[in-house]
Point group: C2
Chain length 278, copies 2
């Protein structure tokens, strides 16, 4: 693991690392924000942030403004990349933004040529946390959050691994990927045409059979241009209601899909996670 | 003037506009953050932010995290571009990052071919504020701040126009451009070889003869890789001390030249300006 950049930030540290991922068969970059508390020898809990289509580890760290409150609360933040990267990692043949590089969708691909590298589910759930917990002064308390494709990833991963995360939140998540164009393209590409294999990655479907809830907060802007076609918060709300799942879904008036929206409410998400992490 | 984007942000609005600049002889883009107070008919004061080399109107709005507190305090923020732009605007012949496009240095060029467009001093001091005060619900209370090249711009402009700004602040300013490589390249290119013509744009020089102080706050990271060669905070401190100028210069331990540094202290700058603006 190699430290490739660091910046002091709100008394803590923003650092980027590259490492070889055995799961993804390539070198990967991630970023970590470490709050000032670690200088006194504290072990801090970790919020994992999963970004949306086209993003890297940098978007959230540069644009969300999360470090101020994370530094105060004493929470580390880890931002993985959104797909495997590098030479030999196949991309969408037409370079589309919504498949291949920057669009791993947090699934384990089963179809060639994607299955050799696109194993983002295992990377985010297992390999990356193990690496973080080995090398940084963090506890094994974890929360997970994300935006859009990453909101899908966060909710889906928390629902499938309730023992690993004390809380989950999302901004503008792709809530029902088996029923929207982004999800159908990604899931058919990575998993093939058998739609039953897709259901394990669909938050709305997973909710229906949930046995062990993880407290959840979701924010969605009502001026989000992807709302109806791609995000489908109504499906999410309905599935949660049907089993009385502890999910708070907030429609935010006037907000869109951008990081200006995320920045406006990230403090609420950090405080929500802090209730469960600290 | 055309509104080309808008995003709701912390209950207020981030908007980008394009307009024709008569002073710069080209179309320009700027961004404005309007706090929620304007919805109740309030006229709010404006903080002008001048960015550093290579930046546009976007860097500060996306990365500084200023909107949270500006929304609370009721301060609008305007971010101009850092040079004239567009077809016909000459750039550095070798495409250098520190001259030409993205590097207007907030001066009025006198040398061909730069003088036809590179009049950023007049644009920032006069044309842009007039446009803002005509089209938006803002008062004529103004403050000015900036980073690196923009820190130079903010300090220099405030010192030359003490009646127009109630306070000034800067992060990592180029404090003595007549005596550093970035400044010498820009000032000789835009103004020619007569160094006496450069002095009107040099903060350290202007300070020495100051008669009407504008309260000033400067933050400088002590791990900034440009500290010694380009920024020269010691020259600034010495000039301010020599005339007892009301400038607070804070050396911030461990911080670098990045927006992670700016974000860490922008709230202090907003509160400083609020004391004088509100």
């Amino acid at each position: 693991m190699e430290n490739i950049s660091w910046n002091k930030s709100f008394g803590g540290w923003h650092k980027q690392y590259s490492h070889h991922s055995a799961v993804l068969n390539c070198d990967m970059r991630f970023a970590i924000f470490l709050p000032p508390h670690i200088a006194q020898g504290a072990k801090v809990p970790v919020l994992y942030w999963l970004s949306g289509l086209t993003c890297t580890d940098e978007n959230f760290m540069q644009k969300a403004g999360a470090q101020r409150l994370a530094a105060e609360l004493g929470i580390a933040i880890v931002t993985p990349d959104t797909s495997p990267r590098g030479e030999g990692v196949p991309d969408d043949p037409e370079g589309a933004y919504d498949f291949g590089l920057g669009a791993g969708f947090y699934v384990n691909a089963t179809q060639a040529p994607w299955n050799r590298h696109y194993q983002m589910y295992d990377y985010v759930v297992n390999e990356l946390p193990a690496l973080i917990e080995e090398h940084f002064p963090v506890s094994d308390k974890r929360a997970i959050s994300g935006h859009s494709m990453g909101g899908h990833g966060a909710l889906m991963i928390a629902l499938r691994n309730p023992s690993r995360y004390s809380s989950v939140s999302a901004f503008s998540p792709i809530s029902n990927p088996v029923n929207c164009p982004w999800g159908e393209k990604a899931l058919s590409g990575y998993l093939g045409d058998d739609r039953t294999s897709w259901l394990q990655y669909d938050t709305t479907e997973l909710l229906k059979n949930n046995q062990q809830p993880v407290p959840a907060l979701v924010d969605q802007g009502d001026q989000d241009s992807f709302l109806e076609e791609q995000l489908k918060p109504d499906s999410l709300a309905e599935a949660a209601q049907s089993i009385d799942y502890p999910l708070e879904l907030r429609m935010q008036e006037g907000y869109d899909h951008s990081y200006y929206f995320i920045a406006s409410f990230i403090d609420d998400h950090l405080r929500f996670h802090a209730q469960h992490l600290l």
